[in-house]
């Protein structure tokens, strides 16, 4: 599903250049649930953004579902993001003047799905994350956990090939974090490929595989026994 070869990325800051990714080699098959770990500033977000086509690598190869991602125009990148990728961010990134269902329906708008079908699908996904009753509430009326569940519903509504989550539990307390991880595990159980960036050990162990980033390279890549989040959720 994802294939990355010798990926490099550096940020230019004035005359200095910060080499963040120094040759990443990484593969993920369909249906995997991978945790990307590393200390703060190790380049986890940078890697995820490149995979998500929100940012461009300097050199290296990246193939997503057999499509080489290279020299994409803005328009093409937007199309791929819309069709292939779903994002979940630490800070939720919901549109504040749109209510829950409208937020979830937004990627479908950009897929040119009709209004009625959008509404139905969005409500369906809200139901899956257990927020059907909150459909008409604005983000400001939701708790952090609820916001993140709306964001996950929004990411899933587009039926992406890969779900990318950058510290999805970073802003949540541990109980809420487990609820969100439970949701992510359920989505993975249905066969979806998911990458989760985190620096928390317990969250990482709720994935099936942990990739460790350090000094711009992957220093460790291991399969783990998945801890079910539902064990911690009542």
């Amino acid at each position: 599903m994802i294939e990355i070869k010798d990926l490099h990325k550096s940020y230019k800051m004035g005359s200095n250049s910060l080499h963040v990714l120094k040759g990443i080699n990484f593969k993920a098959e369909k249906g995997e649930l991978v945790a990307i770990m590393g200390s703060s500033g190790s380049g986890k977000s940078t890697l995820l953004n490149i995979i998500g086509m929100l940012d461009l690598a300097d050199t290296g190869e990246y193939v997503l579902d057999e499509v080489p991602i290279k020299n994409l125009s803005e328009t093409k990148a937007a199309q791929y993001r819309n069709k292939f990728l779903g994002f979940v961010f630490q800070s939720f990134n919901l549109i504040n003047y749109k209510n829950a269902i409208e937020n979830v329906a937004l990627p479908l708008y950009y897929q040119r799905v009709g209004r009625k079908e959008r509404q139905e699908k969005a409500l369906n996904y809200l139901d899956k994350v257990g927020l059907k009753e909150w459909a008409t509430h604005l983000p400001s009326e939701l708790s952090g956990g609820q916001k993140q569940r709306v964001a996950i519903a929004r990411a899933m509504a587009a039926e992406p090939k890969v779900l990318l989550a950058d510290e999805p539990t970073g802003a949540l307390d541990s109980k809420t974090s487990y609820e969100v991880m439970d949701l992510i595990q359920n989505i993975n159980d249905e066969g979806n490929t998911i990458l989760v960036v985190t620096h928390e050990e317990d969250i990482a162990h709720m994935c099936k595989r942990i990739v460790h980033l350090k000094d711009g390279v992957i220093v460790e890549d291991k399969k783990v026994e998945q801890v079910r989040a539902s064990e911690y959720v009542q």
Binding site: N49, G52, L54, D55, E74, T75, A78, Q79, R81, N82, K83, F87, F89, N93, L94, I95, Y97, K98, E102, L106, P107, Y109, Y110, Q111, R112, G114, R115, R154, A158
Partner: protein, 414 residues
């Protein structure tokens, strides 16, 4: 433009960002409002000044006799020039194509005027039936002096409204009453009104009667003409000048006056005066246009400022939309679509409101030199379109920049 989904998305955005929409709309609407009102008053002033001059025979050309100051053809200076009936008739015949209406005036001096026991002191003179049109006199009661009066030397007069109000206030109407003028009974047949109050304090009788009964001569005291209606002002000024020159040429020759004798006759040409006033109104209009254009520029700057702020405020939203798959052009389209829609609605709103105001209040405006302020609809609509167009152009650049911004940068923006 006809993408219904996008319209719905725009309406959603507008509905949920009422304050932003309201402020944008308000600045556009008030800009248009101010412009229309200004232009309206510019036109109102032009109308007012035009009216003022129309009332007092804007196209009048006159000649008065004087006393010669130069020797000519063996004639001594100090000779009193006398215009005669024949002068009036010949001029009317010779310069027919330059003249629409003409009248001579015969002053009746030293006559006593009585109404019953009351002695009246008003201007008294004779005039031709066309005097009514030369002076733009409006009848408020009865009729003006006509051809029959003139031919039959009728002893009739018309009086100004002010005389009626002063002398005949106890009567329903002065029509049919008799005035005693130097012992002869004159019947009042009409009451007229004039723009200027003093011109309503006059008693007018037929020229023929004035000459036969009062002066006993065929002399007239002034010759007054109006030119035919012209298509434009410049043409009218030229025609009036041509008539003045024709009058001068004829009268100097007929009365054997040196061409450089300035005191022998006097000529008046109202149009040349009017021209200066017209120039003034044009300047005023120009000034209003200037102020109006400045208002529009301020409006355009306002709209583009709002656009900048809107785009800035929506940077994060734009980032989210792009992450979800919005293409750069759809972002530009979304922002401009909303801007055009809001600008158009509020622009035309301001237009309709100000036009209605002019329509209903305009006719009641009673300021000197301002009459019925109104605005050419085409000009006003063009202004709104200009504002929409320039607002959109001004808004395009921030929108384009926002659409090009990298998603991660837009999302980092707090």
């Amino acid at each position: 433009m006809f993408d219904i989904e996008r319209w719905q998305e725009i309406f959603d955005t507008i509905r949920k960002n009422k304050l932003r929409t309201f402020l944008t709309g308000l600045s556009v609407a008030s800009g248009i409002f101010i412009l229309v009102i200004l232009l309206g008053f510019g036109n109102g002033m032009q109308n007012g000044i035009e009216k003022e001059f129309q009332e007092d025979a804007i196209t009048k050309v006159s000649a008065w006799p004087g006393v010669t100051s130069k020797e000519y053809n063996g004639l001594n200076p100090g000779r009193r020039i006398r215009f005669m009936n024949e002068d009036f008739e010949t001029i009317g015949y010779n310069f027919n194509d330059l003249i629409e209406y003409g009248t001579a005036r015969v002053y009746v001096r030293g006559a006593t005027v009585n109404y019953g026991p009351e002695s009246l002191a008003y201007d008294l003179f004779g005039a031709n039936p066309d005097f009514q049109f030369v002076e733009n006199i409006k009848m408020v009661e009865g009729r003006y002096i006509n051809q029959t009066d003139e031919k039959a030397y009728k002893k009739v007069v018309v009086i100004g409204k002010k005389i009626r109000d002063d002398v005949f206030r106890d009567l329903d109407s002065p029509i049919g009453e008799f005035l005693d003028i130097s012992g002869i009974r004159f019947k009042i047949v009409g009451v007229y009104s004039e723009m200027i109050d003093e011109e309503e304090e006059r008693i007018i009788m037929p020229n023929t009667t004035a000459q036969l009964i009062m002066t006993g001569e065929t002399q007239v005291n002034s010759l007054e003409y109006t030119i035919p209606r012209m298509d434009n002002f410049e043409q009218a000024v030229a025609t009036a000048k041509a008539l003045e020159n024709s009058l001068r040429g004829y009268l100097l020759k007929e009365h054997q006056v040196s061409p450089d004798d300035t005191s022998a006759m006097e000529f008046g040409n109202a149009l040349e005066q009017a021209k200066r006033f017209y120039g003034l109104t044009n300047n005023i209009k120009l000034f209003f246009w200037f102020v109006g254009v400045c208002t529009i520029i301020a409006g355009v700057v306002g709209v583009s400022n709002i656009m900048l702020i809107v785009v800035k405020e929506r940077t994060r939203e734009i980032g989210i939309r792009k992450a979800l798959g919005a293409k750069p052009w759809s972002i530009v389209g979304m922002i401009l679509h909303e801007a055009i829609f809001v600008t158009a609605i509020s622009g035309f709103g301001g237009l309709v409101f100000s036009m209605l105001l002019l329509e209903f209040v305009g006719p009641h405006v009673e300021i000197e030199y301002v009459l019925n302020p109104s605005v050419d609809l085409k000009v006003a609509v063009a202004t709104v379109l200009l504002l929409i167009f320039s607002g959109t152009t001004a808004g395009f650049f921030p929108a384009w920049r926002a659409a090009r911004i990298k998603v991660i940068e837009a999302l980092r923006d707090e």
